[in-house]
């Protein structure tokens, strides 16, 4: 028995080390970088100077002061979090019925439906965004159709492209499978006898859903929400391409620091805050999932 436990740890050691090293090391590098000065042409300035036989540390708090010295970055975080929350909720609302249908359909169709859910992954992420750019295009069929309908009722034309709505529609589209798959994995395991028993005892459709399916699905909901929320929070490609002048998110500003401004220290500060936000959300999600379970 003891030997078995030992071999279990031995087997999980490589993946565990892999994950830990490649999460922890970059995080510490960034944490350190956030206290350093930016190099004149990009990169980082040396963190110590050896002058007149004396060693002086070249570390600073100014990068962190820049974060809190103005409200623009906090507002940007708030905006990104709201985009991520909206996307997660929309994904959940759309994915739940779909996952339920797949989980309760016969084995013959189940695999086909699952395949259809992951089918979009066969084409590249950017290609899918460009497809949305064509769909939303002002001279595209969709926009023209909507505007023709609006014209009938006397309303002015609208533009779909380059708007926060376009960003959210695309974010939901891209992340929907990440919600469907964990939900399906969870719902599929539910024992149908529970629902039958509830029905026999006189519970209506809604009560059966809220008292049985929903609480049992919470782990799946938590997993799916985390899988959607975190990548959306740091997203930069979608707002870059579809966001126009108002759709910017925190990911765009982080990208700017490392690319356009070549300001690694401040980029590190923003990345650290983003990582901390993500960790906080995961902890909160796990907490919520457990809390409900305890009460149920």
């Amino acid at each position: 028995m003891q030997g078995k436990a030992w071999s279990k740890y031995l087997l999980s050691l490589p993946p565990l080390t892999y994950l830990l090293v490649f999460f922890a090391v970059p995080t510490f590098i960034m944490l350190f970088a956030s206290f350093r000065y930016a190099g004149e042409y990009g990169g980082l300035a040396p963190w110590y100077l050896h002058e007149h036989g004396r060693l002086s540390l070249e570390l600073t708090l100014e990068n962190w002061q820049r974060l809190v010295g103005t409200d623009i970055y906090l507002r940007l975080f708030a905006k990104s979090i709201s985009y991520a929350v909206i996307t997660t909720v929309l994904c959940l609302v759309m994915a739940f019925p779909l996952a339920l249908v797949i989980a309760r359909s016969g084995h013959r169709y189940r695999d086909l439906l699952l395949l259809l859910v992951i089918l979009p992954f066969w084409s590249n992420f950017l290609v899918r965004i460009y497809a949305w750019m064509i769909i939303f295009s002002p001279v595209g069929a969709l926009t023209r159709m909507i505007n023709a309908l609006l014209d009938l009722v006397g309303a002015g034309p609208i533009t779909l492209m380059y708007s926060p709505t376009a960003v959210i529609v695309c974010l939901v589209y891209v992340h929907l499978p990440f919600m469907v798959l964990p939900l399906y994995a969870n719902l599929e395991k539910h024992d149908p006898a529970l629902l039958d028993a509830a029905q026999d005892l006189g519970a209506g459709q809604w009560r059966r859903f809220w008292l049985i399916t929903w609480p049992l699905a919470l782990p799946g909901i938590t997993a799916g929400s985390i899988l959607v929320f975190i990548p959306v929070l740091g997203m930069f490609a979608v707002p870059d391409l579809l966001g126009g002048t108002t759709g910017i998110m925190i990911g765009n500003v982080i990208k700017q620091q490392f690319m356009e401004s070549r300001d690694w220290p401040f980029g590190s500060v923003l990345s650290m805050v983003l990582t901390a936000t993500a960790v906080a959300v995961v902890l909160l999600g796990v907490r919520l999932g457990q809390g409900r379970k305890g009460r149920g």
Partner: protein
């Protein structure tokens, strides 16, 4: 089974037949494909191209350690920064017989005195491309930066304008509009420029540095702030697609940014010999003319002039005369402090 094995063998064996490769890092849409094909045929090699759409993006990639490029086409301010970083290889002038073709007016500039590391490739201006018919319908005569900055003008073309997603270019245009130099780093002047941008922003559809050629050609966008060479392509594409409108462009009367692009070889290049061969090939008059005829760029090559289409040579936006040239400025390399200031102002703009 035998057939499959044979195919597998073929797959494995293909590297044996692989020809020499030249890895090039260039602005997007900034080389004549015919000239590249000619070179590949002449020297039995393959030119592998990677593209970038902004100087800062290219610098970030190179300085973050992207290696393996044999030839890079950076703009003058980037050349200066790359030289200071010790990133570039000294050019072997002995291997460049066509060096004599270059116009001395574009040589020996302050960013690389004596052209030790770089040779001019082509030049562009940053200007305004527009949809002739749509602007005429609105009664707008584009002559100045006002067409992208003045709310009174923009009110008529709201949502039909894009500007470059590039702080240096957009601040440069706004500074020019205000009558300052594009290299002005005075915080007060930069704040004035920021105010101009913020006032105009609600009327813009997007910040776009990469797909405005397409947007102009399709007719989604009526006014775009972008590079002259791109506008020539948008004009040609719209003509070729037989649109019911013309794409045209003007150099604003307040002046604009002139970008002199150069050929450089990184120290880490793997195939310096082939890179020199390609530079010399591109310096040949007829080949250099391709950059103007096919791409719409200005040309620093004297020997190319006879081969350049006459209608192109007449355009002062592409081949500026002395008077126009006096209003144009090149961007200088900026230090970390200025970049940080500009980025803060830029982020504030984006968040408005």
């Amino acid at each position: 089974m035998k057939k499959i094995l044979f195919l597998l063998l073929l797959l494995l064996a293909s590297p044996v037949w692989a020809v020499e490769e030249l890895h090039m890092f260039n602005w997007n849409d900034y080389i004549s494909t015919d000239v590249v094909a000619d070179f590949e045929q002449t020297y039995n090699c393959k030119v592998v191209q990677d593209y970038y759409s902004g100087t800062e993006e290219m610098m970030a990639k190179l300085l973050a350690g992207a290696s393996g490029y044999d030839l890079v086409i950076p703009t003058q301010n980037a050349v200066q920064a790359l030289i200071q970083q010790g990133f570039l290889e000294k050019l072997d002038k002995g291997a460049l017989a066509n060096l004599k073709n270059l116009d001395p007016a574009f040589l020996n500039r302050s960013y690389d005195p004596g052209n030790i590391y770089s040779l001019p490739y082509a030049y562009t201006t940053t200007l305004i491309g527009f949809n002739e018919q749509r602007l005429k319908e609105q009664g707008i005569e584009p002559t100045s930066w006002a067409v992208i900055f003045d709310p009174a003008v923009l009110a008529k073309i709201k949502g039909k304008v894009t500007v470059m997603d590039d702080a240096d270019e957009l601040f440069g245009a706004a500074l020019k509009y205000l009558g300052y130099s594009v290299n002005d780093v005075d915080e007060k002047h930069l704040r004035e420029a920021q105010a101009v941008i913020i006032k105009a922003k609600p009327y813009w559809a997007a910040f776009n540095s990469s797909s405005y050629i397409k947007e102009l050609t399709v007719g989604n966008i009526w006014v775009a702030h972008g590079y002259s060479s791109d506008m020539v392509q948008a004009r040609n594409d719209a003509l070729a697609a037989k649109r019911n409108f013309m794409v045209n462009f003007i150099l604003p009367k307040e002046g604009a940014i002139l970008a002199l692009d150069n050929m450089v070889i990184p120290q880490a290049a793997r195939n310096k010999k082939l890179a020199h061969l390609f530079i010399d090939f591109l310096l040949d008059g007829k080949n250099a003319a391709g950059l103007s005829n096919d791409v719409g760029a200005g040309n620093p090559n004297k020997a190319a002039l006879p081969f350049i289409n006459a209608d192109l040579k007449e355009l002062t936006a592409i081949f500026p005369d002395q008077q126009t040239l006096a209003t144009l400025e090149t961007l200088e390399a900026t230090n970390a402090k200025v970049r940080r200031l500009k980025n803060t102002l830029w982020t504030e703009i984006k968040l408005q």
